[in-house]
Symmetry: C2
Subunit: 332 residues, 2 copies
């Protein structure tokens, strides 16, 4: 039913109070409408969106923010389906945001496929929402952080942010969360194809998925190997040494361990101040990113500029013109 | 003697031809003057600098561009001193550019210390030049790429770009080179403190330094461990599997191996097209970075904007204001 309202472009503009009151009353319909509002690309929606965010600000920041990434096929959705049930069974209110870099191309979305997270999507303690990735020049345009704040204000105490882990979306998610979980398949090889280099070193933990049946020994071997490898990485600077676990969405094995681990991480980084520090630095980065998006928007909003830019990039790529000169031509 | 001219701020402006002819005649004095010109922050110098770069463009791109990084204490200068002598002994003309992120703070430079690279600095086949890192907002402002092009036009067929490996300078260097070498000390632990996470996965090879005397067995162990770890990393996508070597600037051990390796990498990536592809993508990134710098320059050049920005960042950091609102205040 929600989807109907999300796609309803010609909606009337309501008062900030309508949204704020509804969100703080944990009304999911209003939450969905508010998310649609903050995701809006219409300049006219912007002041209202800001007013709503301002109005709920005092009620945000109290959730555990967890990022989950991994290459296609690693079993992210299945993991979240089972892990999410584990969390709600313990009384948590769970919001799942799927950062979806494909939606800008296809107009579709990760969650368009109705078979994903079938149980979780019917769970009254869970709320699932795709977060489209726009194509702002010079960066990924998205409103996932704003959506996360709205969900926190609406009473969700755990936010899972999923990304398919292609392109730049992992670093975007890393900038949003307190804990970044990388799902991996057993055996170093094909499944690493497509994983961005540098991502392993961002992870707060690795979980080897599909550790069940015949795959068990391979998963254990992978756990041992990755654990050794991670010891050779530079330290995180937070006193936390990223561990490697195994889990199975089929047998539920390891789900409690992953949750236990995330809680330990939160305890440690809360005590030593790194959690607050990470969030503060994320806030500042978010400010800089928004400023950049607005400045880019002013520049790239000029008529014809994108075509001229593409043309110049091609000439730069072919070595026909030096970048400095190309910039000069573009800026006139 | 060169230093005198590099620091000569009140120099008169000469014709593009003076620089172009001098550079193509491999005149080092003129090369140094041209580098000072492209490094100039004066807007009035910009058209001349562009004209010089344009004039030498056809003579650039023919060197091997090698980046070298590692934490302080790993022995970068000593490595380059010995490795550089190895290269020039084989008839190569070597330019060493030191990307220096400290110079913006202290006004000093890595190479201010005259004891560094003593032999190489007197070697007639070598040219050593620090490349200051400016403090352009929103990115590292520097002219290392332009300096590299000038050196190529001046006949240097190998460019070594060194960075102390703190902050963002490694990724800057990675964007400049064909081959990125990470120097490491034996034993995972203290020496990794200060190394940026994510950097290991950018490396085309690791070299364990100080593999001599009592340190030999530890270096061999480290080589074995890192080699195993690197196999667990996502593939580079170029058909190249980053190897781990050991070397010693004391005994010269491994220097020939490192050079051999870099040549193999060049051969492979030239044949499979990845070298050209990497350079093309670097060109486009350079264009985007320059465009960004110019746009940032326009914005941050406004009087008082930096103070207002700092003030807003502090309020954002403390959670007193949402970034979206702060951006609105800044843009007015």
């Amino acid at each position: 039913m929600r989807g109907k309202f999300d796609c309803f472009n010609m909606r009337q503009r309501l008062s900030p109070d309508y949204y704020i009151t509804g969100i703080l009353a944990h009304d999911r319909l209003v939450l969905s409408q508010a998310i649609t509002l903050v995701e809006s690309q219409l300049a006219a929606d912007y002041p209202l969106a800001q007013a709503v965010l301002d109005g709920v600000l005092a009620h945000t920041g109290n959730s555990m923010r967890i990022g989950i990434t991994g290459v296609p096929g690693v079993g992210k959705s299945t993991f979240i389906e089972v892990f999410g049930q584990h969390l709600t069974a313990q009384g948590h209110q769970l919001a799942v945001l799927a950062l979806d870099p494909t939606s800008q191309r296809s107009g579709g979305s990760l969650l368009g496929d109705k078979t994903r997270m079938e149980n979780l999507s019917m769970n009254p303690s869970a709320y699932i929402r795709p977060s489209p990735v726009g194509n702002a020049l010079g960066g990924i345009g998205h409103r996932t952080r704003e959506t996360m704040l709205l969900c926190e204000a609406a009473g969700f105490d755990i936010i899972l942010i999923e990304t398919v882990g292609v392109g730049q979306s992992e670093t975007v998610v890393y900038e949003l969360v307190d804990f970044f979980l990388l799902l991996m398949l057993a055996g170093a090889g094909d499944e690493l194809q497509g994983m961005k280099r540098g991502i392993m070193e961002l992870a707060d933990a690795l979980a080897i998925t599909k550790a069940d049946g015949d795959n068990g020994p391979a998963a254990n071997r992978a756990q041992f190997e990755y654990q050794n490898a991670l010891h050779l990485f530079p330290p995180t600077g937070t006193g936390w040494q990223p561990p490697v676990l195994t889990c199975s969405a089929l047998t539920n094995a390891g789900m409690a361990d992953v949750w236990q681990l995330i809680q330990e991480h939160q305890k440690l980084t809360t005590q030593n101040g790194h959690r607050a520090q990470r969030r503060q630095s994320q806030q500042v980065n978010w400010f800089r990113e928004l400023l950049r998006q607005r400045l880019d928007g002013q520049f790239f909003g000029q008529p014809g500029i994108r075509n001229r830019m593409n043309d110049l990039e091609n000439r730069v790529r072919q070595g026909e013109i030096l970048p400095g000169k190309a910039v000069g031509e573009l800026l006139g």
